[in-house]
Symmetry: C2
Subunit: 392 residues, 2 copies
Amino acid sequence: MNRVSPPRGFPVSEFETRVKNAQVQMQSSDMDGIVLTTPQNFRYFSGFNSQFWESPTRPFFLVVPREGLPIAVVPSIGGPALETTWVTDIRTWPAPRPEDDGVSLLDSVLSELPRRFGRIGWEMGRESIIRMPIIDFDRLRKNISNIEFVDASPLIWSLRMVKSVLEIDKVREACLIGSDTFDLFLERVTYGATEVQMAHEFRKTAFECGIDNAPFVSVCSGLGGYTQIIAGPHEIAQTDGQIMFVDTGLLFDAYFCDFDRNFAFGHINDAAKRANEAVWQATQAGIDAARPGITAEDLWAAQNKVLDAAGAKSGNNVGRFGHGLGMHLTEPPSNMPGDKTVLKPGMVMTIEPGLEFAPGKNIVHEENLVITEDGCELLTRRAPIEMPIIQA
Amino acid sequence: MNRVSPPRGFPVSEFETRVKNAQVQMQSSDMDGIVLTTPQNFRYFSGFNSQFWESPTRPFFLVVPREGLPIAVVPSIGGPALETTWVTDIRTWPAPRPEDDGVSLLDSVLSELPRRFGRIGWEMGRESIIRMPIIDFDRLRKNISNIEFVDASPLIWSLRMVKSVLEIDKVREACLIGSDTFDLFLERVTYGATEVQMAHEFRKTAFECGIDNAPFVSVCSGLGGYTQIIAGPHEIAQTDGQIMFVDTGLLFDAYFCDFDRNFAFGHINDAAKRANEAVWQATQAGIDAARPGITAEDLWAAQNKVLDAAGAKSGNNVGRFGHGLGMHLTEPPSNMPGDKTVLKPGMVMTIEPGLEFAPGKNIVHEENLVITEDGCELLTRRAPIEMPIIQA
């Protein structure tokens, strides 16, 4: 491969823009600041990129005030690493300190923020969590008089949903490496191997192809179709009649691709073959429809029309036909009835129709794209219209 | 390798025991049930093992009542997968449903629990988070009259801290594969390569050696010692005088190993050499001290004594010399002053002394062990006393 990977990290100007955009929204939604506690949001505004979030022992806080620069409130172990980011105001406490792990320090930082609205935003709402003990959050909320804690999730997601050119470069790279991985994996899929063995082979291949990390490799299978797509791999051998689903979230510089491919073993029966083609066509309809100005619901409808024509029953248990994609494997919006989010250039989406064509028999396809000024750019190498059949 | 890996998953009896032990504690701590929302705790009581937790869109709830069997309250996409676990009472809602993602369903389940104490435990405290939007948690807490939400973290951690034989088998396997990985990696470390390249090589090697997943591979380096150990890899080439630290959390069947190794390039200066030996000896002192009946603080003291004698300054920014280990990369207790947790057979611990032997120059070692009836069993293949030096 002679492809040149995009550089890692972001220039300072990127973070300045993100903070500025957040501050405009804080102003219009009456917030004096927002507090970020989760890896992706902390990184979004600070550039701090670490796998240490795997350890639940110590909370990390980033305070973005309505005016001025972010303040990092982090355990001592994080101090030196934060100094290598663009953040200059770094406060640390000696951690772990179970009786007061950052709470009093954060309290003092929040209390000193210039107060105009008396409201601080937190990751309290949809598709968001707060990564700190809730008894500490409750304590803070009670202690800081005259400051109300409010939901900043809509603000944060509205920013993160529209990706910058440099963010799109990272997702594109993840998708390219993921596509290379599936191509190479197809040569290596072995008749009779188990889901667990296939998942190992897939991950090995992904690292050979140059991915940074492979948090999500779901391998599920069933005779002539699969029942579910989220809990696998298991020790189930792929022999005649099995259909195997491999879904993957691979990371390049902490940005995901998220797409799947299907494999048949020995032979594929007619019902599965027809279902597979219908789902492929539904995916194509989604890709063809994707452009600025339509809604996530429209993106669902374009796919659903094809599946309806193919005689689909009323939906499947996934609940939607794709979603946003970025630093999280799934992000808002959801391609489903009721999601009126208007697509804009820079939004990275998955197109993910699924069809339960017989009781407990599903076929799901998925591709990734980015909305452009006049349509979309497909980021993944398109699945073949016919499911590959692996022979003994 | 002719080693036979332990089987994946657990027999139903394992879950029955865990639930029974939790119920004994619920009884003595006045709780009518506990609610689990995070991957590790949900799996601990249900056996549900999925990478789908990477998607933040949908919450999952497991209710373990004071008496009787667990109740899963999960989004529709999780229904079929839950049916393959030992849990039989599975309630689903069509998700995503932003206006009510599981809240009213969970409300009804909790409201119908036999009420004796009027208290329900949640993952509210130390080293715990609640994986659902806090506005939904607040809504539930307010709506369910006469039920108080209390902290169940001490209950949960007290159970999870002491591992069963089958759990130890999984950590042992992760440690063995991790040890194989470091042995093979040593043959592949290349003078002049960057931290990023080394991390790729390490992960590739880990998958060759048979690991399931590699969420944590921290590669950090510095001239004659490193400043920090949590934010890496970066594009820093390993040339003469560099010391490179590779710390890894690898998963076998969702159980972690967590240990590190150090590598010098070209040559190692005397100060770093002395520091490295002191930290190795401190690790040995920790291993030698580990036995039932002493405390986590004692485990710290045994290591600290060696570092003190070697002329250590007052500690380092890590804040402790090791911790518990299991389904999380780090778990309670902490080997540090003030942690009076008494070690018991079945507790899996890391021994992790660190020494800042000059400003900004650290050496950190780490091994994993399990407390046995009469001492401990070392689970990792011990690091060499002399740091390997990689030549150009």
